[in-house]
Amino acid sequence: MVEVPKLPWRRPGGWWLRNRRYMLFQLREVGGVLSAVYGVLLLVLLSQYQAGPDAYASFLAWMRSPPVLVPTAILFAFVLVHALSWFVLIGKTQAVMSAGRAPPPRTVIGLMVGLFAVVSIAVVYLVFGGP
């Protein structure tokens, strides 16, 4: 019995460079790890806050210094991408989950982004401007 010489498939190394959506997917996934880093940063912030006004002030000063600010801004960008992509996924999934009976994905995503914005503004107000 002759075995037919097939050309075996192998996934190429840079597969995610192939199109925009694959790229976004990788950024989203990497964003997951970076969100964890961001989370650690927030925990440190909280612990410094608890340690007293001096410790907190010096920590904030450190955070504001350019060598720290730039990477933090990048981390923040990834967290935003990750969060927004999460909303998009929920939007896509719930359509199938509810067998099309719920509002269209766009509406759901819009609602979640809106809620995210409201909560974010509230937090920023509390932290920077509030009592």
């Binding site: 010489p5 498939w9 694959y22 996924l89 896509k92 999934t93 067998a99 099309g100």
Partner: protein
């Protein structure tokens, strides 16, 4: 209708030649309503009879003619040359599968995965035919109808980076059909299917890239279907954990 000449770069693989795969270029006349499949047939009938590819219905329902066009998985019978002509059209065999010859790939892995999800009505007993049809309202049919439209064209497998890296992944189409049957009111197989598919190479291999749903020519939304299965599997898991007696009922 005006005619123009377009270059087709087609990936060739001649298994008995011992040679590596190569691109062959053909310059052929096309019109506004010429689809890529028409182009391939023109080449085979008038230029190079050795060019090998699958096709049949030419109306997007049999699922035979899936290939990579300019790097994206498409049904060539429904892809107009004028829409993909970027100084030429590149045609490759579908990503993710072993190539048998030229543009013909081996999708036996799909058929194995397909069998694994038990894509038929699973029931303990059937009522006799004399009692007529099972009643199923239009709303009940809506619950699974979208996933029933899968033509098994394999574009979703070609698009899925997980399947590209792991041929053991059950894959989008098979999982969409698992949901289709599980959601059919006539079926009783949800629990069994979840048991089979809540595994590392089953639904949990999926990382929701979502490209399968982007390329699906029939809007089956396999990505959404897999996430639905994940939710159902999670609920089943918790129920078995917390209420073992009722879960086994």
């Amino acid at each position: 209708m005006a005619e123009k000449i377009v270059a087709f770069r087609v990936k060739r693989y001649r298994p008995e030649s011992g040679k590596a795969p190569f691109y062959q270029e053909y310059r052929i006349p096309v019109r506004d309503d010429t689809v890529v499949l028409d182009g391939l047939n023109y080449i085979k009938d008038h230029v190079d009879p050795t060019l090998t590819f699958r096709w049949s219905c030419r109306m997007g329902i049999c699922g035979s003619c899936g290939m990579d066009v300019n790097g994206a998985p498409r049904l060539t019978c429904g892809t107009f040359v004028k829409d993909v002509d970027r100084g030429g059209v590149t045609v490759d065999p579908l990503t993710g599968f072993d190539v048998i010859k030229d543009l013909v790939v081996d999708f036996e892995p799909f058929l194995r995965h397909f069998l694994h999800v038990k894509p038929w009505i699973v029931r303990e007993t059937n009522k006799p035919l004399s009692e007529g049809e099972y009643l199923q309202t239009p709303e009940e049919m809506e619950a699974y109808h979208q996933q029933s439209l899968c033509i098994n064209c394999m574009l979703c497998y070609a698009a899925c980076p997980v399947f590209q890296g792991n041929a053991k992944f059950v894959g989008p189409a098979a999982l969409a059909l698992a949901l289709r049957y599980s959601r059919d009111t006539r079926d009783e197989g949800l629990d069994e299917r979840l048991g089979r598919l809540s595994t590392r190479d089953g639904i949990w291999a999926c990382t929701f890239v979502g490209e399968c749903s982007v390329v699906c020519p029939k809007a089956v939304d396999p990505a959404g279907a897999i996430q639905s299965l994940k939710v159902l599997a999670s609920i089943r898991h918790m129920r078995r954990l917390l209420l073992p007696k009722s879960a086994r009922r």
